[in-house]
Amino acid sequence: MSSFSFALAGIGLFVLGLHALIVHAHLLRKILAINIMGSGVSLVLVALARRGGDALPDAVPHAMVITGIVVAVSATALALVLMLKLAAETGSATLPDDSPE
C-alpha cells in the first residue's frame, strides 16, 4: 500500500482526535484525544518519508518521532496529575464552565 495512505490515516487520526478534544468534556478523554492526535502526526512524519519506492529509510523522521513519543508521555503524565488535582479540588474531572469573575 502506498505511503500516502498511511499518511492520510495519520491525518484522519489527527482530525478524529481534534474532534474528540472539542466535544468531550471529561479531561481523561481530552488527554486521550491529544495522544491520538500525536500518533497521527507521527504517522504523517514517517509515512511521507517513504514516498517513491524503496529508497533507504530516512532516519531523521524516525528520530523525531521517538522524541515526540517521549514528549507525549511527559505531557500525559503532567496532564493526568493536573486532572487529579483539579478533580480533588472541584469534585469533577471536567473543566469548570464559569470564568473566575
Binding site: F14, L18, L21, L27, K30, I34, M37, G38, V41, V44, L45, L48, A49, R51, V60, P61, M64, T67, G68, V71, S74, A75, L78, A79, L82, M83, K85, L86, E89, T90, L95, P96, S99, P100, E101
Partner: protein
C-alpha cells in the same frame, strides 16, 4: 585582550546551558534556590550584553552544533531579532526574579525556581534555534514549564486555568509539529535558512503555514483563540502572571515572525490581511473586555490580549515598509514585556496589601502604597502609548507606517486601542485615589516587591529615550529584510 575574549566566546550557548545547570542545582539544593536563581539571572543579563556586543562587532552569531552543518545538524543563530528577544527575557526576568525572592515563602521558592529556570533556558534556546523541529521541542518545554508555573498556587481557579492552558498549548504544539512534518517532506529540511531558499508557492507551504500559524496563534491567544488566557494569567501567582504575560507569549510570536520573515512572506497569498484583521479585532475586543472587568488581574490579562493585537497589525503594514514596521513591533514587544510585568507585579503588591484585587475597593492605595501605584501608573503610560515611553515609540512608528500607506482603518484601530487603554488604566488609577466605602485591613508589602515593580515600569518609560540606541541593534544581521538568516 578582553575584547578578544568577548568576541570569541560562545555567549549564546552560555545562555542555554547555564540556566539548565542552575535549574538542576535548584532542584537538588532547594535551600539555596533564591541565591542560585538571582545569580543566574544576573549572569544571564551580562551574557546577553556580551552577546550583543559580540554580534555588533563581528556580525551574526552562527554555531553548527556537533560540528554538523545543516541540513544534517542543528544550527544556533543569533541576529538583532534574537538579541531583542533574549534581552527582553533576561531583563524582565531579572526584575521578576528579584520580586519573587520576596514574594514566595521558602517552601514555595523551592518549587518556583527549578521551573522558572527551565522556562528561561527553553526560551533562550527558542530564540537561538535555527531549526524548526528543534523549535518544536523548545515550544513544548516552554509550554510545560509555563503550565506547571501557572498551577503553582493550587486552588480551583489556578488549576482549572493551568489545565485549560495545558490543553491549548499541547494542541498548538501538535498543529505546529504537523506543519513541520509537511515542510520537511515538501522541501527536505528543517533548517530555516535552507527552507527559505527552497520554499516555493505550492499548496503544502500554505497548509503548513496554516497549521503552524494556527498553532502559534493559539499559544499566543490571538482573538478568537484567546479563550484560555484571561483565566490562566489572572489566577496564577503574581510573578508567574508577569512571566506568562511578559515573556512566554512572546516566544510563540517570535517563531511566527521568524517563519514569516524567512519562509512564508514571499508566498503569503494574502495571509497578512487576515492576521491584520484578527489583530485589529484583538485590540478592540481585548480592550473592551479589559474595560468591563471588576478584578484588576483580569483587567491586566485582557489588556495583554489587546496589546498582542498590535503585533499582528504590523503584518499587513509590513508588505510596503518591512524593516520600519517590524522594528516598531519589536519595540512594542519589548516595552510591553516590561510594562506588563510591572503591572502584574504591582497587582501582586496590591493583593498582598489588601488581600483582594477588586478594582472598586482599592481604597487610596496612592497614599498607602505610593511606589506600587507609581509603578502601575508608569506602566500604564507605556501601555497606553503616551510619550515619552517605549510604548509610545512603538505605537508611533506603527501609526506612521499606517498613515503613510493610507491604511486609515488601521490608523483608527491603533488610536482607538490607545484611547480604550487610557480608559481602563485611568479606571484603576481613579479608584486608587478615592476612598472605599468600607475601610480595608492592610498587610505590609516588602520594599523589594515595590521597588521591583517600579524599576520595571521605569524601564518601560526609559525605553522611550533609548530608542536611538536600541533600534539599530535590532537591525544587526538584517533580520527584517527578505533574506536575513544566512546558512
Amino acid at each position: 585582550m578582553l575584547q578578544a575574549v568577548i568576541a570569541d566566546s560562545h555567549w549564546a550557548i552560555i545562555l542555554i546551558l547555564l540556566p539548565l545547570a542552575a535549574a538542576v542545582l535548584c532542584f537538588l539544593y532547594a535551600r539555596a534556590a533564591n541565591i542560585i536563581g538571582v545569580m543566574t539571572l544576573s549572569a544571564l543579563v551580562l551574557s546577553v550584553a556580551a552577546l550583543g556586543w559580540q554580534i555588533r562587532e563581528t556580525g551574526v552569531y552562527h554555531h553548527a552544533i556537533g560540528g554538523w552543518e545543516a541540513p544534517l545538524g542543528i544550527g544556533l543563530y543569533a541576529d538583532g531579532l534574537s538579541l531583542l528577544m533574549l534581552t527582553i527575557t533576561a531583563v524582565a526576568g531579572l526584575g521578576i526574579s528579584i520580586y519573587a525572592t520576596s514574594y514566595f515563602k521558602q517552601q514555595d521558592a523551592a518549587r518556583f525556581w527549578p521551573l522558572w529556570l527551565l522556562l528561561l533556558a527553553s526560551l533562550n534556546a527558542l530564540y537561538l534555534s535555527a531549526d524548526i523541529f528543534n523549535l518544536y521541542i523548545t515550544l513544548e518545554l516552554v509550554g510545560l514549564a509555563a503550565v506547571a508555573l501557572a498551577a503553582l498556587t493550587g486552588g480551583r481557579d489556578a488549576l482549572a486555568g493551568a489545565m485549560r492552558y495545558l490543553l491549548a498549548t499541547l494542541l498548538g504544539s501538535l498543529a505546529y509539529l504537523l506543519g513541520v512534518a509537511l515542510l520537511y517532506h515538501g522541501f527536505g529540511s528543517v533548517d530555516i535558512a535552507i527552507l527559505a531558499t527552497q520554499a516555493e508557492p505550492v499548496p503544502v507551504l500554505w497548509v503548513a503555514f496554516g497549521l503552524m500559524g494556527a498553532g502559534l496563534a493559539l499559544k499566543m491567544a490571538l482573538v478568537p483563540l484567546h479563550f484560555w488566557l484571561p483565566a490562566t494569567h489572572a489566577s496564577a501567582a503574581a510573578p508567574v502572571s508577569a512571566l506568562l504575560s511578559a515573556l512566554v507569549i512572546k516566544g510563540a510570536f517570535y517563531i511566527l515572525l521568524r517563519l514569516w520573515l524567512e519562509i512564508f512572506a514571499p508566498h503569503s497569498g494574502g495571509a497578512e490581511t487576515l492576521l491584520g484583521l484578527l489583530g485589529s479585532a484583538a485590540v478592540i475586543w481585548g480592550s473592551l473586555q479589559a474595560l468591563r472587568q471588576t478584578r484588576l488581574k483580569l483587567l491586566i490579562a485582557y489588556s495583554t490580549v489587546a496589546q498582542l493585537g498590535y503585533l499582528f497589525i504590523a503584518f499587513p503594514l509590513s508588505t510596503m515598509a518591512g524593516a520600519a514596521v517590524w522594528s516598531a513591533a519589536g519595540y512594542l514587544a519589548l516595552s510591553h514585556a516590561l510594562a506588563k510585568a510591572a503591572m502584574f507585579l504591582a497587582a501582586g503588591n496590591l493583593m498582598r496589601f489588601g488581600g483582594h484585587d477588586r478594582i472598586a475597593d482599592l481604597d487610596r492605595v496612592v497614599q498607602r502604597l505610593p511606589l506600587t501605584a507609581g509603578a502601575f501608573a508608569l506602566a500604564g503610560v507605556s501601555i497606553i502609548g503616551l510619550p515619552p515611553s517605549g510604548g509610545f515609540v512603538g505605537k508611533w512608528l506603527l501609526l506612521e507606517a499606517a498613515l503613510t500607506q493610507g491604511r486609515w482603518e488601521l490608523v483608527v484601530v491603533i488610536i482607538l486601542g490607545s484611547l480604550l487603554a487610557a480608559a481602563y488604566v485611568f479606571k484603576v488609577l481613579g479608584r486608587a485615589f478615592t476612598q472605599a466605602p468600607v475601610c480595608q485591613k492592610a498587610r505590609a508589602v516588602p520594599a523589594r516587591m515595590e521597588w521591583a515593580a517600579l524599576l520595571l515600569a521605569c524601564g518601560a518609560i526609559l525605553l522611550g529615550f533609548l530608542a536611538p540606541f536600541i533600534l539599530p541593534l535590532m537591525d544587526i544581521g538584517d533580520p527584517f529584510s527578505a533574506s536575513g538568516v544566512q546558512p
